[in-house]
């Protein structure tokens, strides 16, 4: 029996409601507007007999005295087979279904079940009658695309229970009963394939949290080689508008070597999501023959013009779905674009609550919320012994491209890798515009053991190269002041080497089919050659000659980069590279 209340005040998307009995912090409430629509909202503050709820919908027409229905449940997502390939809004409302029901425009107060109730799944039981079970135990599995989608005892199942009846293998919808269990109190409970989990509470049903030590290969050389991300790790990509954040995110979403990608378009342009939406069904999955990218993707789409409170919820919805697939021993990558918009949603609500503001009017708890969110990324050993992970790469849109602002700083304090995009690089058309001089990753050392398995000297090579990069940049800065004439030949070559490294390795052509994506194997192979050139003593007669030599080398490597791995062209160009490295010059 839900608790009822009444609207006593409303301003923007914040409504104050009175209640008689009790309410829970963060429980879901519905406001029954006078036009008959039911508006979903969440309790965010309780004071005496009044509580503040943030409404996830347009609040037009709400009146004093409108009924508020408190559900007693926290904001949850529905978990079960059929999440993949879906396009949800921030509250897990399936957008294509919504479009069928309401036409071109979104309509407030209309909610659908997140999982299709009519679809049948081929269920194979793994548990049997008489088994003792508890939360998170595996009852069976269904095939979902290429994945073995495990069906769990709900993660919020309390205590132990015994299976009284187990369904046979066969075809079931998500809400068909697949198991009947009896708990310790002797109560019979029916279980099906769908369960719910509150989005703001991390799902911790695992044995042990592990240190992330395996690389998450994005295919982007500057990231994987210099500022790598670990499976189960976190990274942030801040950058001003026009610096190529979205293109970078889209590339990662296509090529990252994980099982499942969750794209959370949080407060960004709808047009960008549309590209993902329309192209993924046609793009081949680089990791499984004959499948398309959409089959490993979930899209959470709460674009900039959709209600702000739902934007705040959207990244939690996304990470909860990620945690669910992690429980199956899969590696999940969440791409959140952009966390600044999420932080702004927090700020709007905080302002309406008249809380004392912190820097740039962001609430004082911004930093802890950011930390809470990124800490949900992890690599874990599950009860089944399998390893699963959720990694998070979040973009940040700093105001004016200034990284000193609170969201960027708050994020940098908690992530493991920082890929800073700058206008200086994007204006110079050096893409991806990640500035190698300001970016860093803590995972390079953390993953050293794993990386060095591929090349025993790898981490050392990278560190030496970073030194060359910095030194080359110093020379370049000096040269801007004293001119070429005042630069020694040795310094000049160092500068040319740094520029060469930038041109052929750090920069990557996203529109070239081959160059857009490099496997780690290829990166290590190519980098070995690049490094040899960086180490080689290159004597030059004069600066023009030096420049010419490096022009030639750059062009050679660029062609090599765009030739198919181990193709004839690749080998032919490699021979030319080797010839140069071996030469006396």
């Amino acid at each position: 029996m839900p608790v009822h209340g009444k609207v006593v005040a409303a301003y923007g998307n914040m409504v104050t409601a009175s209640f008689d009995e009790s309410v829970r912090q963060n429980e879901v409430a519905y406001i029954l507007a006078s036009d008959g629509s039911k508006l979903k909202s969440e309790v965010i503050r309780v004071r005496g007999n009044n509580c503040n709820v943030q409404v996830f919908e347009d609040t037009k027409g709400i009146k004093i005295g409108d009924t508020v229905e408190f559900t007693g449940d926290l904001l949850v997502v529905e978990l079960g087979p059929g999440l993949l390939q879906q396009i949800y809004d921030g509250l897990q409302n399936p957008l294509p279904k919504l479009s069928k029901a309401t036409g071109l425009f979104l309509k407030r107060g209309i909610y659908f079940e997140a999982l299709d109730r009519s679809l049948k799944w081929d269920f194979t039981p793994l548990a049997k009658q008489g088994d003792e079970i508890c939360a998170g135990d595996i009852l069976g599995w269904v095939p979902e695309g290429k994945f073995t989608h495990q069906i769990f005892v709900p993660f919020n199942f309390i205590g132990k229970a015994k299976i009284v009846k187990m369904a046979d293998a066969g075809s079931y919808t998500v809400d068909n009963v697949i198991a009947e269990v009896e708990n310790e109190a002797g109560k019979r409970i029916l279980l099906n394939m769908v369960q719910q989990w509150p989005i703001k509470i991390p799902l911790k049903n695992y044995e042990e949290r592990l240190l992330p030590t395996e690389p998450l290969v994005t295919g982007c050389r500057i990231i994987d080689s210099f500022c790598p991300v670990a499976k189960g790790g976190t990274a942030c990509i801040p950058g001003p508008f026009g610096s190529g954040k979205t293109v970078l995110q889209q590339l990662i979403s296509r090529y990252a070597d994980v099982d499942i990608i969750i794209v959370a378009a949080c407060g960004e342009r709808a047009g960008e999501v549309v590209e993902t939406l329309k192209e993924f069904p046609h793009l081949a999955d680089p990791y499984s023959e004959g499948r398309t990218l959409i089959e490993r993707t979930v899209i959470i789409c709460n674009t900039s013009s959709m209600p702000v409170a739902a934007r705040e919820a959207s990244i939690y919805t996304a990470i909860t779905i990620g945690e669910y697939y992690r429980q199956m021993g899969l590696h999940v990558l969440l791409l959140a674009d952009s966390t600044s918009r999420w932080a702004q949603a927090l700020r709007e609500m905080s302002g309406r609550l008249e809380e004392i503001p912190g820097e740039e009017a962001f609430p004082a708890y911004l930093q802890s919320r950011i930390a809470e969110f990124y800490e949900r990324a992890c690599c874990v050993r599950l009860k089944s012994g399998k390893i699963g992970s959720v990694s998070v790469i979040g973009t940040v849109s700093p105001a004016g491209g200034n990284f000193e602002e609170p969201v960027t700083q708050g994020t940098l304090a908690v992530v493991g890798a920082f890929h800073g995009l700058t206008w200086a690089r994007s204006n110079a058309r050096r893409f991806p515009a990640i500035d190698p001089l300001i970016s860093w990753s803590k995972y390079l050392d953390q993953m050293a053991e794993s990386l060095n398995k591929r090349d025993p000297e790898w981490v050392n090579l990278i560190k030496k190269t970073q030194k060359i990069m910095f030194e080359g940049n110093e020379v370049k800065k000096r040269m801007d002041v004293v001119g070429e004439e005042g630069t020694s030949a040795a310094d000049f070559v160092l500068m040319l080497k740094a520029e060469f490294l930038d041109a052929v390795y750090l920069q990557q052509n996203a529109f070239d089919n081959v160059d857009a994506y490099n496997t780690l194997e290829r990166q290590i192979y190519t980098f070995g050659k690049v490094f040899k050139i960086l180490q080689k003593d290159i004597a030059i007669k004069d600066k023009d000659e030096g420049r010419q030599t490096f022009f030639r080398l750059t062009s050679l490597f660029k062609n090599w980069n765009s030739s198919e791995w181990q193709s004839d062209k690749f080998r032919k160009l490699e021979n030319e590279v080797n010839a140069f490295i071996g030469s006396e010059k």
């Binding site: 301003y11 709808a270 329309k278 013009s305 004016g400 200034n402």
Partner: protein, 435 residues
């Protein structure tokens, strides 16, 4: 419609608070003063009091004025008869014509379902080469014109309005000076396009609150026309005034400002408007071009900065021309050499690259370096490029502009010097002018 005789408790800025019951958030009200009535909208309700945002401004409003609640949110008229008409920020005709009698539609409607969006692949022609050729405007695109006060951005907008191949042009003027208003009106009338133009004009002297309604009304009308299959081009000038009005209102509502006094939801407010740009599959479309004057020519100011994150590129209007370097149309790749002529992409890049080289040569001169023969060629090319392409008065179709580019290249360069692909040179290089 309910009439409430009430005492207004509080009047601050454009906000009035009064006792009222059974009013909904966003409901429209009219404050009846002796001799005039001023519309307003409920923006906050609390217990038995309601806070109104008064569109006409609160000047002269008495605490004893009656307030009438209309039972519906702000609306705007919609219909074919709007074409050729001019309204103010409250939707009242200011062209001397009669009040339209067609249906009324709500403004600030819900967001377009992202799942229904399509990838836009059609170009909208403006016959301005700096747009069509170098940064093509694509249907459903939203683009700001970043400029500074004093630049001819309204002239540019008017020119786009006159020349663009759209079915309907909606002009939303915010804080428009009387002179500019007259300029738009006269230009559209004289060029004979007025019969497909609808104008919502908030003049600089009008109450600030009306300024906030202009984009919503313009876009609500545009949206309906788009649903009816029309290709609509919405021109807004100047969004900086809109953002400043937001600031004014939010400060008088005692909201905590975030950055330079602007409200924390500036991004969402701007996005809610810009995101109305849409290409509806099988039906019409809305394309949006909006002037944003940058205070102090600073692109990191909160208004242009937030705008840049929302829009799909930007045009920079500097010293009277569209700057080919900073300007960017993110969607042009969808149409360039795909729906336009096959030489478009290469010509676009080559012309800009050479112009950029010319700029370097100019820097050389400025720094007193010796000028080579090649520099002289570039300089001659650069000044022709400025005269024959960049000038805002140039009016030609993209095909003519492409031909013109080939002719200009042939005038100044050998084919090899341009770096253009051989097959394109063979097909397009003007034979008669070949050196």
């Amino acid at each position: 419609m309910r009439e409430i005789i009430t005492k207004i408790d509080e009047i601050t800025g454009n906000i009035a608070t009064l006792k009222a019951s059974n009013v909904g958030l966003g409901e429209l009200a009219v404050v009846m003063s002796p001799g005039r009535s001023t519309p307003g909208q409920v923006i906050r309700i609390s217990g038995d009091s309601a806070t109104l945002q008064i569109f006409g401004g609160t000047k002269g409003i008495s605490t004893s004025d009656k307030v009438r609640f209309l039972g519906h949110p702000m609306q705007v008229k919609y219909g074919e008869s709007l074409l050729g008409r001019i309204f103010n920020g409250s939707g009242v005709p200011i062209d001397g014509g009669p009040e339209p009698v067609e249906e009324e539609i709500p403004i600030g409607g819900p967001s377009f379902n992202p799942a229904n969006r399509i990838i836009p692949r059609q170009m909208i022609r403006t016959n301005i080469p700096m747009i069509d050729l170098f940064n093509s405007l694509v249907i459903s695109q939203k683009l700001p014109i970043f400029s500074v006060p004093g630049e001819p951005y309204n002239q540019l907008l008017a020119r786009v309005g006159m020349q663009a191949d759209a079915d309907i042009i909606v002009l939303g003027g915010m804080g428009l000076k009387f002179d500019d208003f007259t300029f738009f009106r006269r230009t559209f009338e004289e060029s004979g396009v007025m019969n497909r133009v609808i104008m919502f004009i908030h003049q600089a002297s009008d109450p600030v609150v009306e300024c906030l309604l202009v984009p919503d009304m313009s876009l609500a009308v545009a949206e309906r026309f788009a649903e009816a299959g029309k290709k609509v081009l919405v021109l807004l000038t100047d969004m900086t005034n809109f953002a400043d009005s937001l600031k004014e209102i939010s400060i008088s509502m005692e909201q905590i400002p975030s950055n330079r006094g602007y409200p924390g939801d500036l991004y969402s407010q701007l996005a809610a408007r810009y995101e109305k740009a849409v290409d509806i599959e099988g039906l019409g479309s809305i394309t949006l071009l909006a002037v944003t004057t940058m205070p102090g020519d600073d692109v990191t100011h909160p208004i242009p900065d937030n705008t840049g994150y929302i829009t799909e590129g930007q045009f920079y209007l500097r010293r009277g021309v569209i700057d080919p370097f900073g300007s960017l149309s993110r969607l042009k790749q969808n149409v360039v050499s795909k729906v336009t002529r096959k030489d478009h992409n290469d010509i676009m890049n080559t012309m800009v690259r050479l112009f950029s080289d010319c700029r370097e040569s100019r820097n050389k001169i400025a720094m007193g370096f010796k000028v080579s023969k090649w520099d002289e060629t570039l300089l001659a090319y650069g000044s022709d490029f400025e005269k024959e392409m960049m000038d805002l008065n140039v009016n030609m179709s993209i095909e003519d502009a492409l031909d013109k580019c080939w002719e200009m290249l042939a005038r100044h360069f050998e084919p090899m010097q341009t770096g253009l692909k051989n097959d394109l040179v063979a097909e397009f290089w003007p034979k008669t002018l070949e050196k």
